[in-house]
């Protein structure tokens, strides 16, 4: 049952991601990408990470993709310019396929090593996934969390400067 569900979701994710790079029209690409993000959110729920799934939908589908769609609409780009060289297509596809083969090769001959941690289904059901993430984020990972805020500040300043100035 679970495997079947996984296969369906994975198949949709792959199909949609192929559509992202195949569609001539950027809006259709964006829509396919949103579907891919949804499939990933579903997989996160299957992996007992409901908080990450919610964040995935809120941040990616709800914010980043809205921004991208907004920009596509603002610039009103309907199709890609026809310039597309055959050898770039061939080289790109070859690189991608090589990458895939490489990862598949190494994955198929390795196994999961390393110490198993204390977080299992029972712990998540007892404490709650959000609470666990929160505890971890504000104790163990406090410094990276603070540094992220500086990154966001820099991004805000950058975006404002770029939008204001005549470049």
């Amino acid at each position: 049952m679970e495997t079947l569900f996984f296969s369906i979701v994975a198949a949709i994710a792959i199909l949609m991601s192929i559509l992202v790079i195949r569609c001539k029209n950027p809006i259709n690409s964006a829509l396919s990408l949103i579907m891919t993000f949804f499939c990933l959110a579903t997989l996160y729920v299957m992996l007992e990470a409901p908080f990450m799934a919610a964040i995935q939908v809120i941040v990616y589908a709800g914010a980043i993709m809205v921004l991208i769609v907004f920009v596509i609409m603002l610039l009103n780009i309907r199709t890609e310019s026809g310039r597309r060289t055959q050898h770039a297509l061939f080289l790109g596809a070859a690189t991608g396929l090589f990458l895939l083969f490489q990862t598949w090769y190494f994955l198929s001959r390795s196994s999961l090593t390393g110490a198993k941690g204390a977080i299992d289904s029972a712990a998540i059901a007892k404490v709650g996934h959000t609470e666990l993430i929160g505890q971890s984020l504000f104790t163990e990972f406090l410094l990276p969390f603070e540094i992220t805020s500086i990154l966001l500040l820099a991004a805000i300043v950058g975006a404002v400067v770029l939008a204001k100035k005549k470049v």
């Binding site: 792959i14 790079i21 007992e48 921004l67 770039a88 790109g92 598949w104 991004a155």
Partner: protein
């Protein structure tokens, strides 16, 4: 129970498709979307491993990846708009101001 392997393979496939997109497309916004897709593929790996290792560190990392992606979206799209104002195009072939 779905094996860890299936998740990792799926993530590898998505990552490769993203790579192909980045290398073959001309439209800067589509390239941008493909990069987001690659980041997401990596996120899937992190969360799958985090589940199978019984450890939350991977998910915290995903949290940070999403923050970086959001910052990247804001700055990247602002750059694209600035570029479009100058050149009336967002084709990466036209991104040649720094070339000589």
């Amino acid at each position: 129970m779905v094996s860890l392997h299936s998740y990792l393979i799926l993530s590898a496939i998505l990552f490769s498709i993203g790579t192909i997109g980045v290398l073959t497309r001309r439209n800067a916004i589509v390239i941008f979307m493909c990069i987001e897709m690659m980041l997401n593929a990596v996120n899937l790996t992190f969360i799958a491993l985090s589940k199978y290792l019984g450890n939350l560190d991977g998910q915290i990392f995903v949290f940070f990846v999403m923050t970086v992606a959001a910052a990247e979206a804001a700055v990247g799209l602002a750059l694209m708009i600035a570029f479009f104002k100058n050149r009336e195009s967002i084709d990466v072939e036209d991104l040649n101001l720094m070339k000589w």
